[in-house]
Symmetry: C2
């Protein structure tokens, strides 16, 4: 059986690109910054060729050693298609380029962007990411935590915000269910292959998400999740949402990784408080107390926090190159903090972007040179979009 | 009956000073910044004489018009003595000069320091203030709030921290009771005369506080509390503690005033989170969310927060002039932020004192000139106390 690869708008993407990225996805366990660099330099097709031939740097060669010569791309595309999944690639207009740009500029090797993503569901990955919030928390959640996650999920989804989570027991599932309960958008990012569900007990939940929203994964068909893959997956949860809300977390919760990923990607991190007598709120309180997370007591607080940092920004037109491709990482961070409809001071931008004053000044000059920032009476904003269009 | 004024260490204070301050306390409704200025300029005895004669600025004259010519000082001292209360005055070694210095330098007219305080109980007001935390919150507290206030009160009191509150229903009473339950120090500041208790239902509680700790008030014998007096009293709660913890507060809680007083006096403000479903935690969450208060989830967090800002400082030897009397308000604020046992950077001091860098530099120079700050490798601290003593 040689099923044609199922893609969404991906009909525009050459089949060789899909095959190359499917090969890379299986061959090099993510995340791998060397692979990002290779693909960035040669494009996916030549990068895959080079990897197959062994013409890549030593580190990458070692990382790919076990799987390099066994090209399962066609089989993976076919197996995914059989499971109703398509391969999303950066060349596809549906690729969530804007959210993942944070992974591209992140400095840690742990935050390399995905080479591609397997996707199931009618949702458009780029459009769903535009107004989105990641909600995570403890698997061993309390009734209070479950109710809170469901409430945040439903109220935010009602307002058109995509609820992003990991489909795990506890908080994750409650957040997804909250969104589904109001017919709202929700996206699950899994740590297994697109033909699997995990946890198995959530098969119905995950199928409902796939039926209306989107189920994403960067692991090839057949992959089972493992501890490392959950950790690796968490960077995608952190990157895909415009901000991340921790609903319940114990003192040593696995949620800590998603929280630190969110910080590393300079997305707003939020935490819901709870009774100080609840062990499941200790992690949330610690995040707030140490000023890593902002306290959110109502769904509206999430809109307020995330809105300030970009939820009301229009996503760049899909399928075009990003306008900020030509500027440096610091300029991109400042651009991220610029608003289209209101002007901000360099001090505000520095605070939002986490940059010192001189870096902000340099970034603003660079952005202005590229027509990406406009100056009005001491304040800066994005130039009006579609001017004259 | 002409009872001799009952004072603690106040035997050292001339009777005419006690009489003068008792007169001023009854004659001018606190707070009154003009009265502070008058007493600062002429001393209490001449200030009282001038007020009696009407030789004071118009504003003060108007404020004192109703009571100026009716000197009840002797009667008040006698009535207070009959109720077991003494008059604490700034000339007394027991006067909590250090905590009240925040009122002296505060800019708002609402934060004028008390002219004197009526006191009942064996506690030494200055010594009890040294390591102290104010705990306040809603009168309509939930069971969760009451348990939390009692736990914070008892755990902190066990560690020798004085629990300061207003003896009101709800959070106040629970905090006092927590301290009493472990035989720990506690201070109530009331908004009525020293011969009264309010609320009446807390007579037993207030008597227990007076039996072991201290009950303070700036209102003359016979005074009943009123809405304005509760608000005015709150500045004393804010000033007396090294920091203030809000345990529960509704969206429009009266606790807001104590919170804003705490901020105005640059004391650390803390808030205990609770379930987001509880209306009584909304005010606490808002304080944390807006970064006015630091979240405290455990009594240890209070020690951590307050300790950073001065709880581990020794109080200046009682009865001496304060060493910072010779320097300006900003230098005093920076001195407040200096530690004796660890050095801090100018940036840390600026943050703690709420001053910009150039003001911090000027203040440090001034403090160094007066031997009140020492410089070591870019960091500043207080000079070692009792050097060579």
């Amino acid at each position: 059986m040689s099923a044609a690869p199922v893609t969404g708008a991906g009909a525009l993407v050459p089949a060789e690109v899909l095959r190359a990225r499917a090969y890379l996805l299986r061959t090099v366990e993510p995340p791998n910054r060397d692979l990002t660099i290779l693909v960035g330099r040669y494009g996916p097709v030549e990068a895959a060729d080079r990897l197959r031939r062994g013409a890549v740097p030593d580190g990458l060669l070692r990382a790919a050693a076990a799987r390099r010569t066994n090209d399962l791309a066609e089989a993976d595309l076919a197996a995914a298609a059989a499971a109703g999944a398509r391969l999303l690639v950066p060349e596809d207009p549906e690729w969530p380029a804007w959210p993942f740009s944070a992974l591209a500029v992140a400095e840690s090797r742990d935050h390399a962007p995905p080479v591609a993503l397997w996707a199931r569901g009618p949702g458009n990955a780029a459009a769903l990411a535009e107004r989105s919030v990641t909600i995570v928390g403890s698997r061993a959640a309390t009734r209070y935590g479950l109710q809170t996650a469901a409430e945040f999920g439903s109220v935010l989804a009602e307002r058109g915000v995509t609820i992003v989570s990991g489909a795990a027991f506890g908080i994750d599932a409650a957040a997804h269910r909250g969104a589904l309960s109001v017919g709202g958008p929700t996206v699950a990012v899994l740590a297994c292959g697109p033909d699997r569900v995990y946890p198995a007990a959530h098969e119905v939940l995950i199928e409902r998400i796939a039926a209306t929203g989107l189920v994403l994964s960067e692991y090839p068909p057949g992959t089972v999740p493992g501890r490392l893959r959950f950790l690796v997956r968490n960077r995608l949860l952190a990157a895909y949402g415009n901000g991340c809300v921790v609903v319940e977390a114990g003192a040593r919760s696995g949620t800590r990784r998603t929280a630190s990923d969110t910080e590393a990607l300079r997305r707003p991190l939020m935490a819901v408080p709870g009774p100080i007598t609840s062990a499941m709120s200790v992690g949330c309180h610690e995040l707030v107390r140490t000023r890593r997370a902002e306290l959110v007591g109502r769904p509206e607080d999430v809109l307020d926090t995330v809105g300030r940092l970009g939820i009301d920004l229009a996503t760049p037109p899909q399928g075009e190159r990003r306008p900020t491709d030509a500027v440096g990482a610091e300029a991109r961070a400042v651009h991220d903090a610029l608003h289209a409809r209101s002007a901000r001071s360099p001090a505000q931008l520095g605070e939002a972007a986490g940059l010192p004053p001189d870096a902000v000044r340099a970034a603003l000059t660079e952005l202005e040179d590229h027509g990406l920032a406009e100056y009005h009476q001491g304040l800066w904003q994005r130039p009006a979009r579609r001017r004259g269009a």
